[in-house]
Symmetry: C2
């Protein structure tokens, strides 16, 4: 151990010009090659950033204070670091890199903090809105492969905010448990359907350092209205994604950059009294139809190569 | 306010290819131009880093967990963010950028966490070692301008670790208060001198996430033996710096990259019984002589331009 630490090594002393090279040379004994690669890249990009902006000592101290405040507000249920990653587009970039898909496959977007792992399993047609509040929405669709063939037995794990922009887990005692959540399974033709309500936009937590940063940047904290889906089937890559309402005022300025053009749904107004009556909906009602396209493992990487 | 947020802006939706451009475009309403510049640069470098290393979602989560742990160990007396900045060379890079000096002027290095603002003022010759422990060291020197002219009335705020590698503030009740600290003033010829002991190397706090990272990178946590100085005089740039012992085993591998070649002192062994007796030192004793060279404000920026 001591030999390398003690050696009057050939790295040279730190200067402004050679700063990144001196630091990365010091990391050459890293045990894990991947950690070594990642930290060296972090050092190079971090030093390039500092050399570009040339912070004053006071500005550096402001950055330290921001990190300190972000660390202190983070706890078991408030993850300010993920919010920071989100509003800087890093979460979506990692998601995009990790989930390259072949053309035509449904793209992914971020999971978000409101998924629960034990949502109830329902038969097709179930109404996931347990309190009857909100504007009725019929959701229908299919799950198919990239050749358009139906995938039977695919599961769709669905969750969404209510028409006031809150998830059940944010309003325990106000919304029923498991409100606006459920797991559905496709039939032999790859079809699924369920009843719900139109979701509303909502803010990410904006009362901490990330919210202060958003305000300083002239940005709002809102995510446009959406429904979350995790779509899975044996032999296919699982897709964690959202469908976005097309008419939301925040569709073009999602605070976390989660919107992809391929994930904006149409929401039709259906004027069909007998169908509304069969659904238990008032007439007219809203309807969203969507086809999820699942890729086979590795198909995205192959397409990108 | 609402108009820009609501506008179906021309930024386009986030994709892997345009990620940084979409995020920086979103920040265009930042009120403060400097903040806008810094955050946009941070976003560009951060996205370039992510695109280079292509982290998996699990690796991204590991980074979130590291930030969370670093935030949670930080408190009023433990600043893990500054330690992280230190071991990545960022603190020294900011210091270098902020303190460019003309050729020949004494360079700066990092302040560190152990300075106190109310150290005692001493007459030349005082012994700052209050407990008599350690190997006796005579420190002599001058403060001059970049033309070699003496600067009278310059102050030297001095502090150092003892021969076990601890500062007084780390060992309250063990070391006397204000042990190995003092403020001296140069005479008409720019000279100062004081008595002390040879400092020892010491580790930065290594029991937290930064220590774990150092170990994973095959790095030790030690800072080579040094004496801190803040040298100030009216009409000159204040210099916050260290002098390093030339024979320390960690001289070439300072955990925080604080060593500059121009700051390595010679420590002589002086065999002079009458002088030792006059100093109250055993014979032989150690001696360090140093000339601090102060620059006039703006001279470094002018030299760099």
């Amino acid at each position: 151990m001591a030999s390398d630490f003690d050696a009057p090594g050939g790295d040279g002393y730190f200067t402004e010009a050679n700063s990144a090279e001196v630091v990365t040379a010091r990391n050459r004994n890293a045990a894990d090659e991947r950690l070594h690669t990642v930290i060296d890249a972090a050092v190079r990009h971090l030093h390039a950033f500092v050399k570009e902006v040339e912070p004053s000592n006071a500005e550096w101290r402001t950055a330290i204070d921001f990190l300190t405040a972000t660390g202190h507000i983070t706890n078991d249920w408030r993850q300010e670091w993920i919010l920071l990653s989100d509003i800087l587009g890093v979460s979506m970039l990692v998601d995009a890199i990790d989930n390259r898909k072949p053309r035509g496959a449904t793209p992914t977007t971020v999971l978000g903090p409101f998924h629960v792992s034990d949502a109830p399993r329902y038969e097709s047609g179930a109404d996931i809105c347990l309190d009857g509040k909100g504007e009725k929405l019929l959701v229908t669709g299919r799950v198919v492969d990239t050749e358009g063939r139906p995938i039977a037995g695919a599961t769709l794990d669905v969750w969404q905010a209510n028409d006031e922009g809150f998830y059940d887990v944010q309003q325990q005692g106000i919304q029923p448990d498991m409100n606006l959540r459920g797991v559905f399974t496709t039939d032999a033709d790859g079809r699924f359907w369920f009843r719900s309500v139109k979701p509303r936009f909502y803010p990410i937590p904006a009362d901490g350092p990330v919210g202060q940063l958003l305000r300083a940047l002239g940005r709002h904290p809102y995510r446009p209205a959406h429904i979350h889906f995790i779509v899975a089937a044996p032999g296919f890559e699982t897709v964690t994604t959202h469908l976005f309402a097309p008419d939301c005022r925040y569709l073009h300025t999602d605070a976390v950059f989660g919107v992809k053009a391929e994930l904006i749904a149409e929401i039709a107004t259906v004027d069909d009294a007998p169908r509304a009556a069969a659904l238990g909906f008032p007439n007219p009602f809203l309807a969203l139809d969507w086809t999820f396209v699942l890729a086979r493992p590795g198909a995205g990487a192959a397409a990108a190569a």
